[in-house]
Amino acid sequence: MSSNQLSTSSASEPATDKRKWANPSILAGLVVIIALLPLLLSSPYILHISILIFVYIIASVSLRTITISGQFPLAHGAFMGIGAYLAGMASRWLGWQPWLTIPLAAIATAGIGMLIGFPFSRLRALYYAMGSLFFGIGVIYIIYAGGTWTGGYAGLIGIGGMFGGSRVAYYYFFLGLALVSVIALYRFEFSRIGINLKAIAQSHLVASSVGINEGWYRILAVGVGCFFVGLAGASYAHYNTVLSTSSFNFMATLWLVMYVLIGGIDSFAGPIVGTIILILISEFSRDLKVFSPYLSAGILLIVVYLMPQGLVSLPQLIKSRLFERRKEKKISHVPGN
């Protein structure tokens, strides 16, 4: 009896977490609608935006996977660039097919990420963030210094495309890739390894005292995150066929972090919601021309000041505002608290 209760109580937490948003019928309906979208709207512009959203969903969800281990990487855009440039260079200079370059580039990105993660597992919290930031900047300089091999300042052109350039085929390819990646990362997060990672994030001392190999698990998290972001970057290279460093530099990394934070870093759905909302806003405000960045900044400010848990907490926030009595206002805060 008691053991039964224990097992349910320990299993109930992830279960309720799932039930909040992952109602299977609603999710299946969403997937069907998304899969039918090209039949309803064949505008190439809308397909292009959807493909961008799929690519960045993979990138932002994999970024969050690294953060559940308590590491805050500021080099994820650079890792996307590594995947993209490796695939692009293999296609441009060796003439390899996309079916070969995409998985190989993803594996190579994961390898580089784990190799870098080995010395970086010395660093914690803020220092890890700063170290990875400097690494990301170094990657961009290496791409600049690559001359003709990487295209340098001018950018890499002439990467082989796929599907004869058909947008609809690309759409289904990226939809499948995003679905597979998101499901894989979801399984990873709620697997035994993911729970170990969360334990490390809460207290690395307690985690290592109960026999969790902290360094190895942190490197593993970086490897998994880098694999998927390399996958996204490599397939993006074969979609865009032109690469420049502006998609992978420090500001691009910060925007990836924004996708995660704006949706809510505490929930698995957060980066997906954040990516969709921010990309839609920046694409559909093109008519405002130079003024369009103000909209994204406005959303950021709204989320910072009004929604501490990100956009995914919005339904709950509205519910608590409408139906629950407001809590007493906090006493003016003491600094440091």
Binding site: Y127, F135, L261
Partner: protein, 287 residues
């Protein structure tokens, strides 16, 4: 000889400018634990406000330098009060608000001035010749202002009551609060000084090199490197880190061409960080 003199003067100017901007960043980082990613943009805005004062309003450029510093300093007080103070200790929200500030300021400069590279009128004309070597007065003036300000800041931090209160807060914020130090007022003051210094550096670099909407990104990276390498709570560490970084930036391009020198410089910084994560001079940040 010519090359050596040019390299050394360039090194000194770069070092003084890096340190000027990094000091303001380090004040907030040490006292409140805030990584102000918007500091690069504030530096850029200082240069542009100086340009606007000189070219649009026709103010004397020395007056413009001071007015720009005051305006940006006031903006720093605003930032500290409304953007940083509510979120002390929350890294994620500080990053978000900094990105919002970066986007708003860069977009505004893009709309009002445009993305083209401009520059401020130079602060001093002419060339000083000593024997074989020749140094332009502009370089001397830029370095002199930088050195003077750095000396003044060191005096302020070490010798005045407010400066010592800043040091107390960066050692232990709650302890300082219990001793009756007005933490909020002192951090607003630190933000004012930091942003004003960044604005002065922006004006000086705008006259010495050039002014562009994205020059802040470059400086932000340098500032982060300086603050992290020197460690938390060490003001004098920033001077040494600034000299090291400036010598990397001015000597490496002589040996390796193009972006490879930048890549090597960043590589050296990463290795230094891995050797001593908590910085070379300060103490480790408590988290």
């Amino acid at each position: 000889m010519e090359l050596a003199v040019a390299t050394v003067t360039n090194l000194l100017i770069l070092a003084s400018m890096y340190i000027l901007v990094a000091l303001g960043f380090a004040f907030l980082f040490n006292m409140l634990g805030i990584l102000n990613f918007a500091h690069g943009v504030i530096y850029m805005l200082g240069g542009y406000i100086g340009l606007a004062l000189i070219s649009a309003l026709g103010i004397n450029q020395w007056a413009a330098l001071i007015i720009s510093a005051v305006i940006i300093g006031a903006f720093g007080i605003f930032l500290e009060r409304f953007c940083f103070r509510p979120f002390i200790g929350n890294f994620n929200r500080i990053v978000m608000i900094c990105v919002a500030v970066i986007v708003i300021l860069q977009t505004s400069v893009n709309i009002i001035v445009g993305t083209q590279i401009t520059s401020l009128p130079s602060f001093a004309e002419g060339v000083l010749r000593v024997g074989l070597a020749s140094v332009s007065y502009e370089r001397i003036v830029t370095f002199a202002i930088g050195a003077l300000l750095l000396g003044a800041i060191m005096w302020f931090v070490n010798r005045t009551k407010w400066g010592q209160q800043m040091q107390a807060i960066s050692q232990d914020m709650q302890g300082a609060f219990l001793q009756g130090i007005n933490v909020h007022r002192i951090s607003a003051l630190a933000s004012f000084i930091g942003c004003a210094l960044a604005a002065i550096a922006g004006c000086l670099i705008g006259a010495y090199l050039s002014l562009g909407p994205f020059m802040g990104d470059f400086m932000l990276v340098k500032v982060l490197i300086l603050a992290i390498l020197s460690g938390v709570g060490s003001i004098s560490g920033i001077f040494i880190a600034g000299l090291v970084l400036a010598s990397l930036d001015s000597i490496l391009p002589l040996l390796v061409s193009g972006a490879a020198s930048d890549a090597i410089a960043v590589g050296i910084v990463v290795v230094l960080l891995l050797i001593r994560p908590q910085g070379f001079f300060g103490h480790e940040m408590e988290m």
